[in-house]
């Protein structure tokens, strides 16, 4: 019998190890798996690379990981936010490596990682600092940059509801990066607001099919 539901967040993140690349869902605070991130704080793993849209705020989520000294690198599109102080300080003091990627390129690189592609050509970033060190190629008269896939050792996601197969639905704009990150890591873990019986999710409306999910844990209401 397939049952991806685990008892607690400690079991949920099992297998995470120092040096790992961790994909973390969310945009702002919406769709961030705060409980799973807290579980990392209770382990001794460190030297992590985080891939996420933002870099945490107000000492919670990714900012808590930064403050706990667990991160080597952050790959994101928008670290600057009101309430984002740790990343600014650590970046200034060169205590964390920061890689800033256009948001659409970030989504597409993660998708490529999950889709088994070797890379893609995007017009985004041509003639900018983003192009530094990247191959520029003219295709049908237009310039593009070659961008490579991103994959994680583990992905930490947040969804609204799950069943025991790991089928997921999200809530409003808390969907954001979660569905693509679900496809692009060796271990994919999701924190949900609610676990429902198999068959309760409409087959037409499941956003992330369970095939992408390894473990589901109840995270408590948002």
């Amino acid at each position: 019998m397939i049952n991806k539901i685990v008892e607690d967040t400690r079991q949920a993140i099992q297998g995470i190890k120092s040096g790992d690349t961790v994909l973390i869902g969310g945009f702002g605070d919406a769709g961030v798996p705060f409980k799973l991130i807290e579980a990392i704080l209770r382990t001794d793993v460190c030297d992590l690379t985080i891939v996420s849209n933002n870099a945490g705020t107000y000492k919670r989520g990714i900012e808590a990981l930064l403050l706990a000294g667990k991160l080597r690198k952050i790959i994101c599109s928008y670290p600057r936010s009101s309430g984002a102080t740790a990343i600014v300080e650590l970046w200034k003091n060169r205590q964390v490596v920061l890689e800033v990627i256009p948001q659409g390129t970030l989504t597409e690189r993660i998708r490529a990682g999950g889709a088994g592609l070797g890379g893609f050509y995007t017009p985004v970033g041509v003639n900018t600092l983003i192009a530094k060190g990247k191959e520029v190629r003219v295709i049908d008269g237009k310039e593009y940059l070659l961008e490579k896939p991103i994959r994680g050792d583990i992905a930490l996601l947040k969804a609204n509801k799950a069943d025991r197969y790991g089928n997921l639905v999200y809530n409003k704009s808390a969907r954001n990066f979660n569905p693509i990150m679900a496809t692009a890591a060796d271990i994919v873990v999701v924190e949900v607001n609610e676990i429902v019986e198999l068959g309760k999710l409409d087959p037409e409306s499941i956003i992330t099919p369970g095939i992408f999910i390894d473990r589901v844990v109840l995270g408590g209401q948002k």
Binding site: Y78, V88, V126, S173
Partner: protein
């Protein structure tokens, strides 16, 4: 003659008049966000938010905020009838694939050729943050900029060549400032509207790019808001 530069709300009001019925629009963070308040009510406009919303509505009533329903600036919003949610991947298919009709952005600088610099000053002390800025500038056929005509210290923001790191080349079609409305065309920058009490010569003195005065130029008139 005395003149009153437009307020940010007035710049947004002016831009809003150009949003026609039935368009799909993305409003960048900053002054552009204000546009939604001033689009004439008889026009049905669908707002896109790059974190995965189409049909975004105004901010919610106090007490009705939903932490899962925010815009790209991380402020609480609502969703209108006919709106929908999707993931970041599909959101940027919309943006980069040219599916939006109109994108309004803020900018540090815009060049004569329509180059835009709006994501980083390149300042070593300011953390770079790009978000969806480049995708939005590159993806849409009709990118418009809302900004003050000059910096706080009076430096022109409309320039021959951007000195700040570029966001994208040759993308800006129209600029709304607190002094004028200017189109970026093949022939150069054409001034369509200037605020009352100001004139073309004065405008040239605060602009570091060549300007052409449209022979049918008009006063840039906005309501008090």
């Amino acid at each position: 003659m005395k003149y009153l530069p437009l307020t940010e709300r007035q710049i947004a009001w002016r831009a809003a008049q150009d949003v026609s019925d039935g368009t799909y629009v993305n409003l960048g963070i900053g002054i552009p966000t204000l546009i939604a308040n001033y689009v004439p009510e008889d026009r049905e406009v669908i707002y896109h938010s790059e974190n995965g919303i189409l049909g975004m509505g105004p901010e919610p009533m106090p007490g009705e905020e939903d932490p899962d329903l925010i815009n790209a600036g991380k402020f609480f919003v609502t969703i209108l009838k006919g709106g929908c949610f999707f993931d970041s991947s599909l959101s940027f298919v919309m943006i980069r694939g040219g599916h939006l009709d109109l994108v309004f952005l803020g900018a540090f600088q815009v060049s004569e050729k329509g180059d835009i610099a709006n994501w980083t000053t390149g300042d070593e002390r300011t953390i770079p943050s790009v978000g969806g800025a480049i995708d939005l500038a590159v993806g849409c056929e009709d990118v418009r900029v809302l900004m003050r005509h000059t910096t706080k210290t009076g430096e022109p923001k409309i320039v021959k060549e951007c000195t700040y790191p570029l966001t994208a080349k040759k993308v800006v079609k129209r600029i709304y400032t607190d002094l004028a409305v200017i189109d970026v065309t093949e022939k150069g920058m054409i001034v369509r509207e200037i605020i009352n009490g100001y004139d073309f010569d004065k405008l040239k003195s605060v602009t570091a790019a060549d300007l052409i005065l449209d022979e049918n130029w008009k006063y840039l008139i906005v309501p008090e808001i």
